[in-house]
């Protein structure tokens, strides 16, 4: 319930304000989205397994996004931004799929 409320509020804010992302921050946006997706899928799985914890979710979400951004930033400074971004997306993508599989098992028992 709370989760739905938060999501709806976020979508509304995003659509209404349509904030423009400053150009220097734009490379980090896709990576931040993938990292956030990972945290949300992990949380959903934990919720279905009955292990969900507010604090862990908040901390994992914030730290995931920040770490992903920092990795891309460091990569950009060292000239390997593209490769590091790919690495981050691959690792997070695998995690997302694994979590999605677990969630599927919980919902459909299959």
């Amino acid at each position: 319930m709370i989760a739905l409320l938060g999501l709806v509020a976020g979508v509304t804010v995003g659509l209404l304000l349509q904030p423009t992302v400053p150009v220097p921050l734009q490379p980090y946006l896709p990576i931040a989205v993938v990292a956030a997706l990972d945290a949300v899928f992990g949380a959903l799985r934990a919720y279905l397994e009955g292990r969900f914890d507010d604090k862990v979710f908040v901390i994992s979400f914030v730290s995931n996004v920040l770490i992903a951004a920092v990795i891309v930033y460091i990569g950009d400074q060292l000239g390997v931004g593209g490769q590091l971004s790919t690495g981050v997306v691959v690792v997070l993508g695998i995690r997302i799929f694994a979590n999605a599989a677990a969630i599927r098992r919980h919902i459909f028992h299959a």
């Binding site: 709370i2 989760a3 938060g6 509020a9 946006l29 945290a39 992990g42 695998i94 694994a98």
Partner: protein, 260 residues
């Protein structure tokens, strides 16, 4: 493989297990619920912003591409227009040259064209075939070098040749004879032996005078000592092609009109 397995097994943050084990289930307070809501709102905003950004950026890059394509096409049109104009002007120049009534002027032009090598010429002269020695593969001294050909051509000019070509490559004042790797190039074209040097000149004196020049003596020496082939024949009717345009085109030099 261990890495992948590790990734899949620990795909959910381990902290959930740690907290669950420690407290027997996460506690939920109002403050932490508000935090979760905020984070989820943040997440939704992030996704929406990313999507909106992408939609905004897409037309911009497409517009840029379209503009570039238009620009390229415009430039291409300009190039083809100018090429057409160039062709027209060249035709005009040729037509004007033909209609020139001044007989002496057209005579001068014809003569200069022969000297410059921009027109094919025919006439009596000497045809000299030179080639590597039979054992050139074993003894590199038996090879015809670019300097040998230079010497030969120089000797022919000196002996009164009016036009010279090597293997159907007309020599002009801009031509070079040089070796590039294994081959000798003339007018930037690689030649293969045997080399046929044709020179238009006085058929009675050209060959005899050449043999007396230092170049002729050097070649006689090469023939005698290293087995290089050197066959000179007087011909009554030689055909020499024009030099390629790149070897007659002048880009930087301009004549000084008031010198005389």
């Amino acid at each position: 493989m261990e890495l992948l397995q590790n990734l899949v097994e620990h795909s959910m943050d381990d902290d959930y297990y740690a907290v669950a084990g420690r407290q027997g289930g996460g506690r939920s307070t109002t403050a932490s619920q508000v935090a979760v809501m905020t984070v989820l709102a943040l997440f939704a905003t992030l996704v929406v912003v990313a999507a909106v950004q992408t939609r905004i950026a897409l037309p911009a890059s497409q517009n840029e591409r379209a503009a570039l394509i238009v620009q390229v096409n415009e430039e291409k049109d300009i190039v083809s227009e100018r090429q057409a104009a160039l062709a027209t002007l060249q035709r005009d120049v040729a037509a004007l040259q033909e209609t020139t009534t001044d007989a002496t002027l057209s005579g001068v032009i014809e003569q200069q064209q022969v000297v410059a090598g921009s027109v094919p010429v025919a006439g009596p002269g000497v045809r000299i075939i030179v080639d590597n020695a039979d054992d050139a593969d074993r003894d590199s001294r038996g090879r015809v070098l670019d300097s040998d050909l230079q010497l030969l051509v120089n000797g022919l000019w000196f002996s009164g040749a009016e036009a010279v070509a090597i293997n159907e490559h007309r020599l002009t004042s801009l031509s070079s004879i040089r070796s590039a790797g294994e081959a000798i190039t003339v007018n930037y074209r690689s030649l293969t032996p045997p080399y046929a040097v044709t020179a238009v000149g006085d058929p009675r004196t050209l060959q005899a005078r050449f043999l007396e020049t230092p170049a002729g003596l050097t070649w006689a020496n090469l023939e005698a000592n290293f087995g290089l082939r050197f066959d000179a024949n007087v011909r009554a009717d030689l055909q020499l092609p024009a030099a390629p345009e790149s070897r007659t085109a002048i880009r930087y030099a301009t004549p000084v009109r008031d010198a005389s």
